[in-house]
Symmetry: C2
Subunit: 286 residues, 2 copies
């Protein structure tokens, strides 16, 4: 697998994963592979949505410019928008802050059959909150366990959970900020903060490492995505999602098959009773 | 234009629009045209989302099997899911019924910069409610004005509104129901009701005609989409959306341009003060 799935309770070091990795693939091959996986993801999404026994929650986190927006656009490009929704968590409102930190998040979890992508998430409450000291340590340090319990509860209620950390290098971030500044179609979203935030780079990295180590569980694993190359990032994320959903596909097909049989039996009964018109000769199933 | 925009306060007859129309296009040409318009729609969506001065509300209505789900999947296939959301209105919950009929709808209207597609909508309250006599006439007949006022209010608050009626023939519906029954991937969603509902076909058509005539306004026009041919339906809807958004594009570009200038000026000030690092020589703008 191209993304690195973090094993529960293992010592883990972000430094061991090079952000510029390409999985020994040529870019062209990587793009083709991604395209075919994106189509598969769309089909698995259709199947999940039809069966509506499970839902999928995808968490996307990463430093500024790591590609959260871009990867969501690309990875879910072949998924039917009718059963896929993106929830973006920005600076919390006064009402949101007045509640526990999982309150606003829980309101956005997917219904059965739905895919919801979190662009940022409850993890900000152990990331920016920790790094910028928005809450004291005894508050944020209690949250890892609370997150694990919450995610386990969702999983027990048929939510399939996949969490991505988009891993870019500090040099790549600088290049992307400069490229944004030079591009009139992108420079409107720049801010001085984008640069001053870089002073906290290693603090953020430490906070990410802890979050990933403490909260990568069997029920809700973290995947580290080497993200300096956008095409490889898209490939790695799409592959991880397809691999996660594939084991459920047969169950969903069987479920729909049973449902079809019931529906067709109802139609047969209604036809025999004359409630609905008979089948035309050419399509008769007799 | 391939869809028929219904003029306000005009006498209007659904019968004058043939559902099997193809706009004198070959299917191949029609598909190519749709593809390029879908890409344009994606770009216009990106621009609208970036500027975040306006939002887009798309209402999709039509008889069973008219293609509401399929058209939403196809027309919005190139729109970034981060700023596009589909809201499906099914049989209302007990809480929803306990409120006025626009209550649940208002909760789903788009935020600035967002596209929201209504799969069914508040129009059900003058369609199924009228045809199946779920409320007395004095209740549903008062709703046309209430809808017009609500939509006018949304438009006054920078919501761009486009409403589509997917227009299929009764014969095409029969073919689609039979095809569903023969397809094991689709038969799970059949019901006896799909057939018994056909008894109300002309009542529904009358109710649709009235809704379209009474509620096609300058602020929120109805478009009749000939929908027997799926490729033509997709083309007609995408074209209508592109034509609706295009007149705003320059305004959005100018808005972003101004914002870019402000941002770049802030960066220049911060650089002069030494708050953020100087530009590398190669990219310096001096």
């Amino acid at each position: 697998m191209y993304a690195v799935r973090v094993k529960p309770d293992r010592d883990f070091n972000l430094k061991s994963i090079p952000p510029r990795q390409n999985g020994n693939l040529e870019e062209d091959n990587g793009r083709d592979l991604y395209e075919s996986l994106a189509v598969q993801l769309g089909e698995l999404g259709d199947l999940m949505s039809a069966a509506a026994t499970h839902s999928l929650l995808v968490v996307v986190q990463g430093m500024d410019t790591a590609g959260k927006d871009g990867s969501i656009r690309d990875v879910f490009s072949r998924v039917n928008p009718s059963h896929c929704r993106v929830a973006s968590f920005k600076i919390p409102s006064a009402t949101e802050v007045a509640h526990d930190f999982l309150w606003r998040v829980h309101q956005q979890t997917p219904e059965r059959g739905e895919i919801v992508v979190f662009n940022r998430s409850h993890y900000e409450d152990v990331l920016v909150v920790r790094v910028r000291k928005l809450a004291p340590k005894h508050i944020w340090s209690a949250r890892y366990d609370q997150i694990n319990q919450f995610e386990q509860y969702l999983a027990n209620n048929n939510t399939i959970i996949v969490k991505f950390f988009l891993h870019i290098s500090k040099d790549e971030q600088e290049e992307r900020l400069l490229a944004r500044e030079a591009d009139p179609l992108k420079s409107w979203k720049l801010s001085v903060e984008d640069w001053t935030n870089r002073e906290y780079w290693s603090d953020y990295k430490r906070a990410y490492s802890d979050a990933v180590r403490k909260c990568s569980t069997k029920a809700a694993p973290w995947y580290i995505v080497p993200a300096d190359r956008k095409w490889f990032r898209n490939l790695a994320m799409t592959e991880a999602l397809v691999e996660t959903l594939t084991p459920y596909a047969q169950h969903w097909r069987d479920f729909l098959d049973d449902q079809s049989k019931e529906r067709l039996a109802e139609l047969t009964v209604a036809r025999a009773a004359g409630t609905i018109p008979a089948l035309p000769d050419s399509t008769s199933r007799e």
